[in-house]
Symmetry: C2
Subunit: 226 residues, 2 copies
DNA sequence: ACCTAAACGGACGGGGGCGTCCGGCTAGCG
DNA sequence: CGCTAGCCGGACGCCCCCGTCCGTTTAGGT
């Protein structure tokens, strides 16, 4: 719905739009959401003005660029829910979501912050979380998932997964895989497990997660950084 | 050793040095290592030149500002090692290190990156890791820590802990506490645990990986400003 | 009280990212 | 084939941050 653009769009404009989206995906994946818009434009081989005309804000660009991954996220959750064994489904969800997030740096923060202006973005996010919540309920009922698991723990793990850095993308994915395995074993129900400290409300998170806002200069426009 | 400054330092210079260090600790804790040097200077109530004269590079400033925490880190490791029960010592180390890192945003990245130029910084880091490695060995021998644990897993967890964000510092600490508890249970030796995927070499990480500056744009990613 | 060396901080030039304007180009219709 | 509306991208002004220079202030010894 968002992109109900009239196909009365001139052909070159159409082409550029795709070029920009491809470039954005590549740049955001490699450098994160805080990458300069300029960089995306350069990579797409267009001028900055063209980029800004197509996507007036970075938020709009990111929302459009990550629409696919957002959908993938939901698909993963649904596939997990479809698994006859809820615990296996749950594990799969953890593993695949971690991998997805390890692949590009930008998507995680996009997912976590869930820009308020990109409505359907947040909607898919909520739908994904709701699906996983249902899956978690079943896994608990099956006695496989620890009963004190809450949805915020999932957010916690995704955030944590996002903190993992490495020299190469490959190393990051590998590390992320190991992390997911550890997380799963921590979430597995077990009589040996001591009770956990209380969960903290986490999401959604103010953007400074990635971006540093404060520049207390009275009067001037606020500055932000990441 | 590092700070063998002649106490033939003028009194105002001495005072300013302390003011700067206090400001740096506060700013780095609140905003992270990427905070502008200017901000530290403002907070300390000195001019930029003064700051640069005392600490020619941000690295030098951070190394000095975090010396205390760095020492605390090592102390934690040593106390863990001193515990007669190695597994309890290990758990304590995890919990306390996570808490320490949750408290200020800057220290984690400082610890992870371990600036190559700040020699003794890296030295303490290595010493800390070595101590924990020994503790881990004992905990494994006691049959409490899973045998496939490697030191990189600790790095992994610290990095992950660093990814945790929340609205308030208090919430972050709470989340971090829960995370630590989960991590400990994942690392606990258990016959139920499946083998883990291979560990990946992680540290140290180039500093720019962590964050990158961006500017604020009204109505877009920036959630709030003062 | 004075004098000097040391320390201070305001100010400067450079660099980079941001968002926008405008003159030139081209797609695509008549 | 020619025209026009729509699109493009170079260039601009803005702001913030960085690191350094230099005229001014001040500590502290005589």
């Amino acid at each position: 719905m968002t992109g109900r653009l009239p196909h009365t769009l001139r052909s070159d404009a159409r082409d550029n739009r795709e070029l920009i989206l491809d470039a954005a995906r590549a740049v955001f994946a490699a450098e994160g959401l805080n990458a300069p818009m300029r960089e995306v434009a350069r990579r797409a081989g267009v001028g900055p003005a063209t980029l800004y005309r197509h996507f007036p804000t970075k938020e709009a660009l990111a929302a459009e660029a990550f629409r696919e991954q957002m959908g993938a996220c939901l698909t993963i959750a649904e596939e997990g829910l479809a698994d006859p064994d809820p615990w296996r489904g749950f594990r799969l969800v953890i593993e695949r979501i971690c991998e997805l997030h390890a692949h590009d740096r930008g998507f995680t923060t996009a997912f976590m912050t869930a820009f308020p202006n990109a409505m359907d973005f947040a909607a898919v996010r909520e739908e994904t979380l709701r699906t996983i919540a249902e899956l978690a309920r079943r896994a608990k009922d099956a006695g496989a998932l620890r009963p004190d698991f809450v949805l915020d723990d999932l957010i916690l793990l995704i955030m944590a997964n996002c903190g993992i850095q490495a020299a190469s993308p490959a190393a990051r994915v590998a590390a992320s895989r190991r992390f997911a395995a550890l997380a799963i074993q921590a979430l597995q129900a077990s009589p040996r497990h001591a009770p956990l400290p209380p969960a903290a409300r986490l999401a959604p998170v103010p953007p400074h997660t990635t971006v540093r806002p404060t520049r207390h200069h009275p009067g001037t426009l606020a500055g932000k950084t990441s």
